[in-house]
Symmetry: C2
Subunit: 265 residues, 2 copies
């Protein structure tokens, strides 16, 4: 048989694992280096420097940089290389708005089409997980990590559940913006009460949206998710400003890239 048009497997034929290369790891590592501020925002980063940091030659480094450019973390000027993009708090808030709109749409779609068993199970699992955390009287680091995980699970269950691949792609685009991900939660350590209140409220939002979906109230569900995002945005802004005091940031979220006010150009 001639070799053409074959649609191959996405998994490694032997191990069954998804195959991957240095490049994939390199891209992820570079993403982390950028998000963590190792390469400072608004600073030029050279190919040589990236290659050295990644332990590879310039070729894969260059491809990884091109990838991060498309993701919006780097900015390229032809023949003058890349610099790390910085974000203002307003940009982050805008991104969270958009995320809320997309999640609202996902909720609406679920309500209109009805909740499939598998999707319902995923949502319920995330709800159950966050429920146990909210019930606790005190939150240690493990609790906070578990919270971000269950939060992430919930939001992705919603978006995945919609079954709309374009929605999913747009969502992924938006949550790549530093602090815009549902994974990025800023816990105000100084004010534990406030922090717990925020978590409880978030959990209630999740429960309410699932309820609205079950009752097939699409626009209500969408509204809840939009508001949920707005609150999340407000919380982040407030807690971000209290970082000077003390705050705990969980997850790979790119705080280092956020400046408020922005650096002067």
């Amino acid at each position: 048989m001639r070799y053409e048009g074959r649609v191959w497997q996405d998994l490694h034929p032997k191990t069954g694992q998804p195959a991957s290369t240095n490049l994939d790891h390199a891209t992820q590592r570079l993403r982390e280096l950028v998000l963590s501020g190792t390469f400072a925002p608004d600073r030029k980063i050279g190919e040589e420097a990236v290659a050295r940091a990644l332990g590879l030659s310039r070729t894969p480094a260059r491809i990884a940089m091109a990838t991060l450019e498309r993701e919006g973390l780097l900015v390229r000027t032809p023949r003058r290389g890349y610099r790390v993009r910085s974000f203002t708090l307003d940009e982050v808030a805008d991104a969270i708005d958009v995320r809320g709109e997309l999640e609202g749409m996902a909720a609406r779609l679920l309500a209109e089409r009805g909740l499939e068993a598998a999707v319902a199970a995923r949502l319920e699992a995330a709800l159950a997980q966050s429920e146990t955390i909210v019930e606790r009287s005190a939150l240690d680091v493990a609790d906070r990590l578990a919270w971000t995980q269950s939060n992430l699970d919930f939001h992705f269950a919603l978006v995945d559940g919609s079954g709309n691949t374009a929605l999913r792609a747009a969502f992924e685009q938006v949550v790549r913006i530093p602090l815009a991900s549902p994974r990025a939660i800023i816990f105000a350590v100084a004010t534990t009460d406030r922090s717990r209140g925020q978590l409880r409220r978030a959990h209630e939002d999740h429960a309410r949206v699932v309820d609205a979906i079950r009752k097939r109230r699409g626009s209500r569900a969408a509204e809840i998710m939009r508001d949920h995002a707005l609150r999340s945005s407000d919380n982040k802004r407030r807690n971000f400003h209290s970082i000077g005091g003390e705050a705990l940031l969980v997850g790979q979220s790119g705080t280092a890239l956020v400046r408020d006010p922005p650096l002067a150009a």
Copy 2:
């Protein structure tokens, strides 16, 4: 002064033009080759073949491919290269849904924040342009091209006008899906009347959304844009199916990648 942290200009120092390289052109050319179906959907495309088609070596070809992968036009499997992604009509419809949601959000933001003069001017200009086309009794090719342009102008004016960069980024992500762009219009040549009716209706939607924005009716404006997208999606589906008869597709839109039903995996 040490070399660090300098934020350079985005324009070429001498010409004032934005600098660019082979890579930039190559990426654009490859995008066109893929969208036009020169590299057939679901077929593997090798680096060598791309390099040859682009008249460059494999290095820039690889980067261009990585970029198109980020955009969603290619799919990569590590160590096994890239293949051209194909889309089903349902995926296209989903993407247009998402576009409508984002445009609706943009309209809502404009209504809530009030229409700035510059944004209003851009919207009005696009409206005026499409008005003259809709008035015509017959549509030639130039008219159709002008229509796609004014349509594109209107939609981008809306999204840009919102001033939300994340919204704009998500929008750009979505309209890269073949046929999902407001630029991609399928004119049903066989049924000119239908085609003209669709255009007229679209123009009226545009006018109505601007009116709603002016009256600060945010959710109304959002609703109009969502419905507008739904209609656009329906029209495309209908007209796409009539391509077998005769249809005119204007713009770089990737019809070649759309399969309905999808090829078997």
